[in-house]
Amino acid sequence: MSLVSIKTAAPTGPKYWRSLDELAKTPQFREFVEQEFPAHADEMLEGNSRRTVLKLMAASFGLAGLAACRRPVEHIYPTAKGWDNYVPGEKLTYATAVSLAGQVTGLLVETHDGRPTKIEGNPDHPFSQGAATALVQASLLNLYDPDRSKSVLEAGKETSWSAFEATVKSLSLGDGSGLRFLSETVASPSLFALRADVLKKFPKAKWVEYEAFQRNAGRAGAMIAFNEAVSPQTDFSKAKVIVALDSDFLGQDWQTPLPTKQFSSRRHMDSEEDFDKINRLYSVESQFSITGANADHRLRLRGSEIKQFAADLAAALGALPGLNVLNNGTDRRSKFLAAIVKDLKAAGKDSLVITSPRQPAIVHALAFLINQSLGSTAMEFAKSGTQERVEAGVDALKALVGEMNAGQVSTLVMLGGNPVYTAPADLAFASALAKVAASLHLGPDEDETAASAKWHVPEAHYLESWGDAVTSTGVATIQQPMIDPIFGGRTAAEILALVSGSPTTKAHDIVKNYWMSTFPGSHPGETKSVASGKDAVKEITANPAEQAWRKSVHDGIVSGTKPQETAKVTADAKRIAAAWATEPKAAEGGIEVAFVPSASVFDGRFANNGWMQEAPDPINKVVWGNAALISPATAKAKNLSDGDVVTLTRGGLKMEVSVLTQPGQADNAITIALGYGRERCGRAGKDVGFNANLLRSSDAFWYAPNVEIATTGKTYTHVTTQERGLADGMNNRPLYREVDIAEYKKNPKAIEEQSEVPPLHSIYTELNYDKGYQWGMAIDLGSCTGCNACVVACVAENNTPVVGKDQVARGREMHWIRMDRYYVGSEDEPRAVEQPLPCMQCENAPCENVCPVAATTHTPEGLNDMVYNRCVGTRYCANNCPFKVRHFNFLNFHKGDSDILSMVHNPDVTVRMRGVMEKCTYCVQRIQETRIAAKADGRREIKDGEIKTACQQTCPADAIVFGNINDPQSKVSKLKKQERNYAMLAELDIRPRTTYLARLRNPNPELEA
């Protein structure tokens, strides 16, 4: 009854009291009493014993005729002052940018009453173009992570910022000979500047950038190829034939949506003309990446053998003189090589050979060489500035650790990152760190490094702090905060300013001063920020730099910054040949272990992020953990089966990990995702999966050869969202449909013919949906890469709960849009296809018929509504759903949400309680919002593309199109007119509103045999 559930003012749902006694102590109770019986308030609260109070209470209920327990007392707290363009309950959107491992994506962030609630890509930003990756989408949850670092720690004990500042000031840094900085990849212009100053101030100081997923091999390759510091700039949209040498450019190699955007632009087939622009992708890789899944042809090679393949390719193309192709036989590799060579030659300037940051520099050099020899326009090079005494990469870290062990480092400032966890095991970073007199760590979590450093200070999330970020092409964005630091964190720039003793220590001033100085008409050295209101207007008009600043902050692009010029460089074949000669050959035989960044937790920084932990791996569908992926053949040979825990040993390094067979994995090669097995982490990520860094060493950073494998007899359960075995394939069902483009050109009916749909009639009177808006969706399987961005975007938009490993194991995950994966072909050489599956919004919905309480019904606009508050939870609808896209709240999954965590909820969507069914709604809240806006604005028509569903908006491949199918001009109805458009299970007469555009493959006829 309401007495024990008085609502508090916080927007975080009701609080419950364990007992009336406890309740009677609370202020709410006091208010309640005062309001309900002003007359007796005093005696009730002061005078009598609580028992009397409760007696009075009970009496008053009777008298007041339920008036008292009618409902919880809820308050409205209006602002005392009120501020510009804030309307309570209405969303505001701000431009900002996120930098993930040095990769920058421009963002538009939606906030409700001062809480960031949704992240979208910034359409004006060149690296985003309106899209965002799964990880970027999920970075929102990190902001509200209740396990985030909350306080300054000295030797693990809580202390204050002032104490920390005092210590920093007391450091005697002198010329900086004992001063070292360790950071993640820096992509912030203002931080660059600040860093330059600091290194000038301390002429002997050094700065090391280290990432578990370092991207500096490309630059090293450029040094070999061109002997100057240039960085490649790739444009996949310019290439018709792409050869990916171990490159996962559609997956984790880039942390921006850009490559997918560019690649898929040649996979959209809107009309006959587009058939010619379709690209062909060859993938040569060890593990099954989504790039491999999207390839028209895929060759399984161990990671270390790929450099040989690159060399052979270069040789076969005649780009590398004095080298002849090895084992020019008739095996698959040779056939593959021959076909590629032919295809590349034919494609000429429309070709692209791309490799991965995980490959050694020489492979990059060879790739550059090949591209240049082919005259490829898809890869160009731009000068990249270098900074004195700043080194990046694992070798730099190794050197640093050497210095630390040698006691040459007195002060180590770690700005972000978690080196104790991410550093290769052979460096024993933790023990080296212990030798450093003063070690300061700035980080978002109280992680492994925070535990071993002398000082730990909380780092501010990018959504709660000022900063800036520049893309690898030189487009800068101001990163503006939307909320005050929840746990009082600070930014790297602020700490650096503190260490260098610079006068400006506020992030806002650091950033603003930097940019103001670059704008025309600036007043150098200005620090004061501008007041708001009338004087602001004056000041802005008076000061063009201030105008530029405000515009930059508003637009999400710093006015004046544009992609930098590309430089004309020519690769030197001789240097490369020489380098190749010295390159050690791949180890024959043995088991090779490859390390890859996890698609879910990246390098571990997302380990405590429930959204990502529960986002299934795109290929093997594992959630809440990683595995030693091994090919079925090798598993048989070693007589291992799924779940067996094995010890992997190499030199002094060893780790325990559980194996999982992965069709399409290279033989004698194991792949383990990084970022798991965190020991010091929040509740979600602690001890989830296996820590691959234990086996990683600086000499074998990505591929560890000759690893001994020994069984332990222990077993472990991998939780996947799809049944394995028989369910891995489609069982000859026409669910995911694809056809070779050549055949499609000949016979456009090829897709339709894959299933037979007899004439069907419903026994109920058929509604006709020919008036007004009729919402529908088309999903283009041809361009969808299966990257999971839509899955996470949906979770963020629709308050979908995280249920945890155990519940997923019971088959109770709640994702409204599912990424279905099927293997096609043999177990050793399969292809994988990905099919996003939201609610199909059937016109003759089987679920609606069977609901006894009419909790799911159809709207005149063809939406299949789900009404949580009417649902009694018979689950009949879910049983009768042919797609099984309805999700039941088996338990109260939101119960555990702390107040902080609940702040991430989208207020436009009901948070569901236990016992009710839920499912994709086509983001009905967005439809209604737009409809009301259109009405208010002269009752105009809703324009095509004005409403975007969350999955559609974030899709980097633009594979999802939503709109009014009743309007022949809308994009969606045009797509649905295509011959390759098909409705899944149409033979059930369910008339799905969501239909699929069959995938058009572009295989090389020579390799098809």
Binding site: E31, R70, P78, A80, K81, G82, P88, L863, V867, V924
Partner: protein, 215 residues
């Protein structure tokens, strides 16, 4: 053998049966009646932190609702005014009235005034003032004659049936937009006729499907 019960017991049985039956019916009807929010919510009149009289301000002084609740035409939520709004006048009028201490306090400290929420819908109901007011639904339709209330109380049940009645037949509750906040407005002719005209002119077609209000 002798009958254990007298003959009359037949009658007693019958009567008893009848009573039980009636009792059941009565119970169900009672439930149906009291579960109706009209019985539960209407008349909710909590004591507000400030003894603000809508009768005085909106009624006698004739302030337009829109002066304080300034977001109603452009937002879902009818904002309760910030303290500044009160102080616009009360820096000049009744500057030292003890009843306004809370307001002045708030203006000084910047602490919000904890108004008590009266017209509250469940969290799963998404009502939008913007849509309704621009369509020509008056405040009166859902809030009653606020301008006559010294202390505001809930006048209408605001339950689903209440909403549906109007969504199924909006005509009687529509009026020219400029009259929306004129609570005392009396139509000069048949209100339904006026409503019909507005419906025709604005193509008003209120949703009666679930997602119209539940999301």
């Amino acid at each position: 053998m002798a009958a254990i019960f007298p003959k009359s017991s037949d009658l007693i049985m019958k009567v008893a049966g009848a009573l039980i039956g009636l009792g059941a019916v009565a119970a169900i009807s009672a439930y149906a009646y009291y579960s109706y929010p009209a019985q539960i919510d209407v008349g909710y009149q909590p004591v507000q932190p400030v003894a603000y009289s809508h009768k005085l301000h909106a009624g006698d002084l004739g302030l337009d609702c829109y002066y304080c609740h300034s977001t109603v035409y452009k937002a879902a939520f009818a904002a309760v005014p910030s303290t500044n709004t009160c102080m616009n006048c009360h820096t000049k009028v009744k500057t030292d009235s003890p009843r306004l201490e809370v307001v002045r306090e708030s203006a000084r400290t910047g602490q919000a005034i904890p108004w008590v929420h009266i017209h509250r819908l469940p969290d799963y109901v998404y009502f939008n003032h913007e849509a309704h007011l621009n369509a020509g639904v008056s405040c009166v339709s859902c809030h009653g004659r606020i301008d006559q209330m010294v202390e505001v109380e809930q006048a209408k049940p605001l339950n689903m049936a209440f909403c549906l009645d109007c969504h199924r037949d909006p005509a009687p509750n529509l009026r020219p937009t400029e009259q929306v906040t004129k609570l005392a407005w009396v139509p000069d002719r048949d209100p339904r006729a006026i409503g019909e005209e507005i419906i025709a002119q604005k193509h008003i077609n209120p949703p009666v499907n679930c997602s119209g209000c539940h999301r």
